[in-house]
């Protein structure tokens, strides 16, 4: 089986759908000739031409608005927003237009736009290259929100995202583009080649949106997480010796409640972990679901680990990032509850 990092897996997905469907077009800042600042579209303009891989003006609202119009006119646009931190000028177009078009026109109009955007910290990007705004979009009805944690899922989910007739926000945790990251910045970088999910078929396959995955089976507690923190959770679980089950949400919205609930009903303890700020965060939605559906099986209050409720500080990236130390402490403390 071929080995791919997340960038290669994303590029492979784009290549496959562009090859299969002439209506798929890519637009974004520096995505064409240059191949994207993270190289996700490298080579695609050479292969499919500059009418299908379009270098856009620096206008996120324009990119998303134009993508909506293209989608209405039969194309299947994949828009790239260079950093999730830059998505806000496109916010109105996403929330008021993209998410609601089908609803307000009773299905007469829709636009199957996929918006890819790198998110998360861990690359010393400071507060304008590190944010995780998934909760803001999960809050909006009418768009699907996805965040893969590995190359295999990234490719399969991206193909699903482009093929679905619903708009999808596809968040790519940039810290794990080149390899899984266990939350310890002191350790040398690891490549995807040693990870089972770094094995990615060359051809077409999909991972359905709306499915979570149990990435580590356990009996004593469940960690519900997604993105970069999946790998931190695995490392933390191993460090504590606690028999932790880890569920990778993958699909923020729609949410695979069934898999989450089954896990927590089995283990009786639940920790929710995300990199985004905690207050009003996506973890609160998860906690509410778990509380409702697993209440009689819970042996401890649901815990949350998240980024602190501040902007992402450049120098204190590793104190801000909910890394292994915080995860280990969280696991231990949750297990102490009698």
């Amino acid at each position: 089986m071929p080995q791919m990092n997340m960038i290669e897996a994303i590029r492979s997905a784009l290549d496959i759908v562009m090859d299969q469907d002439p209506n798929v077009v890519i637009l974004g800042e520096d995505v064409g000739y240059f191949g994207g600042v993270f190289r996700c579209t490298d080579g695609l303009q050479r292969k499919y031409g500059d009418h299908r891989v379009i270098d856009a003006p620096i206008a996120e609202g324009g990119i998303i608005g134009a993508a909506i119009g293209m989608g209405v006119n039969g194309l299947r646009p994949v828009a790239e927003i260079q950093f999730a931190d830059y998505i806000y000028p496109g916010f109105d177009q996403i929330v008021s237009e993209l998410a609601r078009l089908r609803y307000r026109s009773c299905g007469e109009f829709f636009s199957p736009v996929t918006i890819r955007t790198p998110c998360g910290g861990g690359i010393r990007g400071g507060q304008t290259h590190s944010q995780s705004p998934e909760a803001i979009f999960a809050h909006v009805s009418g768009i699907k929100t996805v965040m893969p944690s590995n190359p295999y899922d990234a490719k399969g989910l991206l193909i699903s995202a482009i093929e679905t007739d619903d708009p999808v926000l596809f968040f790519e945790p940039k810290r794990i583009y080149n390899g899984p990251f266990d939350g310890d910045p002191e350790k040398p970088a690891v490549s995807w080649s040693a990870h089972p999910k770094g094995e990615v078929p060359d051809g077409y396959y999909t991972v359905p949106i709306g499915t979570a995955e149990v990435v580590r089976e356990g009996s004593e507690m469940t960690i519900i997480t997604y993105g970069t923190l999946v790998h931190v959770a695995v490392a933390a679980a191993e460090a504590t010796g606690v028999d932790v089950e880890i569920v990778d949400v993958r699909s923020i919205a729609p949410l695979d409640t069934e898999t989450l609930v089954a896990s927590v009903n089995k283990t009786g303890r639940c920790m929710i972990a995300h990199e985004a700020t905690r207050f009003g965060g996506y973890g609160a939605e998860l906690a509410a679901r778990i509380q409702k559906d697993c209440f009689w099986n819970l042996e401890a209050p649901i815990g949350r680990i998240a980024g602190w409720d501040t902007p992402y500080p450049h120098a204190f990236e590793w104190q801000y990032f909910p890394g292994k130390k915080r995860m280990v402490a969280g696991i231990r403390s949750l297990m102490e509850v009698e």
């Binding site: 000739y33 009418h51 909910p322 915080r326 969280g330």
Partner: protein
Amino acid sequence: MATKKSRLYIPRPMARPGDEPDFSYLDLADAGTIDKPSINARTRDIEYLSSGLVRILDDEHRAVGPWNPGIDAADLQIALRWMLLNRAFDKRMFQIQRQGRISFYMEAAGEEAVSIGAAMALRAGDMCFPSYRNQGLYMYRGVKLVDMMCQCLSNTKDMCKGRQLPIMYHSRAGNVFSISGNLATQYPHAVGWAMASAIKGEDHIAVSWLGDGSTAEADFHHALTFAAVYQAPVILNVVNNQWAISTFQGTAGGERRPFAARGLGLGIPGIRVDGNDLLAVYAVTLWAADRARRGGGPTLIENVTYRAGAHSTSDDPTKYRPKDEWAAFPLGDPVERLKQHLIAEGHWSEDKQSALEEELKAKVLAAWKEAQQYGTMTEGPFLDAATMFDDVYAETPYHLESQRRRMRAIESGNGDSSDGGTS
């Protein structure tokens, strides 16, 4: 649907890696050939300024024409010094980033006259809203090199307390706004500041800068609309350095009309200026500032220049443009041009230039030595990470104080980082 041949127009730059540099698309004008109107002129009568190119330094390095501000040789030497300092600083910081001692850097090489020329034409009470390549403004307006370096190092003397990427300075004392990583956002701020100045009955003006690429952002258009509607005392600069990261100025819509003409439909006069001619930048800024101060409203200035270095330390420009493109840029190097002018006028020499370059190099090195004493990314002293919870709000609320305590406990190796639902 997309099976027929596309009829879409796609802008393409004249030259990519491996091609000969080609600036034939740039409309030029000889120095001294563009009329200088009264500051009271009506926009409709001065539309020619947006398509011409105000230049003062000619090919023989003389200062010519109606825009020549007649700056004293001593002041021009000072201007040269500031530009050279900017360049020496950038050179050192770029190397330091390459050594892994700061995380990021952005050079202004080739664009120094844009900041220094404008800064010289403004008053101390005028407020600057810079983009990320206007470090010259901070220097000119009194921020010490060592303080700028400490910002880049995120160390104990960092004005941003470790919260911002390198180069995202601010200076309340120098009236230079805080730099954002998001593009064009400062443009409407400048207009609002200028509106407030008018509301308060003051004669301070606001000045802002952004790149050719950033003119595509909605905030650029918001700013122009508000500036025009309220005739705000503001100067809006477009720094057309030909390249956004990998996309050329045509991708921002610069192929058919100059950026200076963007405001004409709103009645905002535009001036296209040789951004590598310090005298010209100074002269047009002074004109626009006088006009704004006397109630004449906003001016849009397009500074035609060239980004000689990479966009930032994160990209390699040889991947998207010819390697030797700067050498072929018809407006040359702003530092070299001012130097040659001073030499031609008999007020400078190559020896003096070399001596000044050495002096500034030493000054930058001394600042670097001092800056490191306040800590680096890898060596202490370090800032207290708990300060990250300050300034989120004017007064830190309970839930942040609680997180600050938990963070301290975790960092010291004892305690629970999770939230069992207590706050």
